[in-house]
């Protein structure tokens, strides 16, 4: 199981977001995040080889077109 420690959580919040949290809160977040990363690791077991992520070029192109129209 991937370990996320309370110290890691506190450091991320302090260094990347600029605020401090209590030890108890950091432990709680670390438990939740550790469980999440463990479960994410299991997603490969349901047979996702060869499956593409659902991000298509048509949406990218449509967004580019829409936003360029909005700017003009």
């Amino acid at each position: 199981m991937p370990m996320v420690t309370a110290e890691t959580v506190k450091q991320v919040l302090r260094d990347l977001y600029g605020y401090e949290i209590s030890d108890a809160a950091a432990h709680s977040i670390a438990r939740g995040a550790g469980a999440m990363l463990t479960l994410a690791g299991h997603l490969g077991s349901i047979g996702i080889a060869g499956i593409e992520p659902p991000f298509g070029y048509p949406v990218l192109l449509a967004e580019a077109t829409r936003t360029s129209k909005n700017k003009s």
Binding site: L16, Y19, L43
Partner: protein
């Protein structure tokens, strides 16, 4: 002769609309009845964040004049509705249920509101929700705790808690909600009304404050299945302002409503048929018997990866929600409620690889579901494992040896269909011995809203009128 206020408030949209069109009643008197009802109930319910009474009266008067002149805009002309307060309304405060956006007035309307407004709907106000739609209790630390009309000490569910509470309390004729992990279906289920989450992309998300871009759905919360179909008819369809909205043909969602379901095949999802409270299990089994009595074939189906779909939903929501909120989390984290801030902080630990993997895995569960739907018309599952818990409850003992987490006991049933993007409708099946609503959900093929509406409509007719909540003061 004028119709008594209470009778006006009891009309569903279909009935109300027919009477408005026939000029049996006026939009002005209907709107006044609803504004009076909000005044009467909302001190207890806290369903509304903003009541747009002046604008509502003006819109009602305009509708009255138009209808009198024979200019009928459609079934929502003159009908008083309300919007979850994350739907942009130009010039009208749109808070997202947050302190951060407490004074935010958008400079444009969301497409769903544009379409309803064009159809002549009268906006009563903006509805309370779980802060930023990120939670299922609607116990909002900034705008008040939304209460369940069936028991004021219980949650209405969420995040569209105000939308469902207002429907059941008769303080709006129809409402709009959003659903990222169950936020339309959960409050509909716990409050005893109908909630329809369409196929992802069926309804434009333009101008709707996002929680998670690839999981957010916009849809109706109503008293009846017919009302939900009617409202979806107005808001569905492609939108140039939302590149992800579908150009799929919009069918007549009400067309099959009065049809029989004899011969239809309904699959009970095995992976969602355990861990139920005794009351929920009893009500669900009775609903299945009703479907059988209508001539449908009801058998069990399996979607093996479905339990993992909730995990996919969680990971994607953590990542996308944090991306949306990251600037505010840097500059004003203290302005979030504790639970929402905590979820966003967990999101900070999400890895890019887990997010991409969760996105890829969605296709597996959807493929399995589509395969099952090759020889079934719709799927069915409970909408939640438990009835509405008391406000503040985090764990619950429901005839089990171990306590279960309230959030998990509820989300487990709804999240998978945000992950797959399939249409799903929640419909009440009965009351517990404590008088609390219980519901099932019917799930369809992508863009098969008409099929879930048809089965839900047939069930609703067979079930009969649903018992209203106790009087709210």
């Amino acid at each position: 002769m004028s119709i008594p206020f209470q009778e006006l408030l009891d009309f569903d949209v279909a009935t109300l609309s027919a009477k408005l069109r026939a000029r049996d009643i006026s939009p002005v008197e209907v709107t006044e009845a609803y504004l009076g009802r909000i005044e009467q109930t909302d001190g207890s319910l806290r369903a509304y964040i903003t009541v747009t009474d002046t604008l509502a009266r003006k819109a009602a008067k305009k509708a009255e004049v138009e209808i009198a002149a024979g200019k009928w805009r459609g079934p929502f002309h003159g009908v008083p509705i309300a919007l979850k307060d994350l739907v942009y309304t130009r010039g009208i405060r749109t808070t997202g249920g947050s302190k951060i956006l407490a004074d935010f007035k958008p400079d444009h309307d969301a497409t769903v509101w544009t379409r309803l407004k064009r159809g002549g709907a009268v906006l009563l106000g903006k509805l309370n929700l779980h802060e930023f739609a990120y939670g299922i209790t609607s116990s909002n630390p900034h705008w008040g705790i939304v209460r369940n009309p069936y028991a004021l000490d219980r949650i209405p569910g969420g995040s569209s808690g105000g939308s469902a509470a207002a429907i059941v309390a008769r303080s709006a004729a129809a409402t709009i909600g959003t659903d990222t992990g169950g936020s339309i279906r959960i409050p509909a289920a716990l409050c005893g009304c109908v909630g329809l989450k369409p196929t992802w992309s069926r309804v434009s998300r333009y101008g709707v404050l996002p929680l998670a871009y690839t999981l957010d759905h916009v849809g109706p919360i109503t008293r009846t299945v017919r009302d939900a179909a009617m409202m979806l008819q107005v808001i569905a369809g492609g939108d140039r302002n939302d590149s992800t909205s579908s150009r799929e043909r919009v069918p007549d969602f009400s067309a099959g409503l009065d049809g029989e379901i004899s011969g239809m095949r309904i699959g009970v999802i095995r992976e969602l048929n355990d861990g139920l409270s005794e009351d929920v299990a009893r009500s669900f089994n009775a609903a299945l018997e009703t479907l059988r009595s209508l001539g449908a074939t009801v058998d069990h189906v399996t979607i093996p990866s479905l339990p993992m779909a909730g995990i996919m939903n969680g990971i994607i929501t953590w990542a996308e929600a944090l991306e949306i909120h990251e600037d505010w989390m840097r500059t004003r984290p203290q302005h979030y409620g504790d639970d929402v801030r905590r979820r966003l902080e967990i999101g900070m630990m999400t890895t890019a690889t887990s997010y991409i993997r969760a996105q890829r895995a969605r296709a597996r569960t959807l493929a399995e579901s589509i395969a099952v739907l090759a020889d079934h018309d719709v799927l069915v599952a409970p909408a939640a494992a438990i009835v509405a818990p008391k406000i503040g409850t985090t764990q619950i003992l429901e005839g089990r040896e171990d306590r279960v987490d309230v959030v998990a006991a509820i989300l487990r049933f709804t999240q998978p269909f945000n992950t797959t993007g399939q249409p799903a409708i929640a419909i009440p099946t009965g009351l517990s011995p404590d008088g609390l609503p219980i519901a099932m959900q019917l799930i369809g093929r992508p863009f098969g809203e008409h099929e879930v509406i048809r089965v839900a409509g047939a069930y609703e007719r067979a079930r009969g009128a649903f018992a209203p909540p106790p009087e709210i003061t």
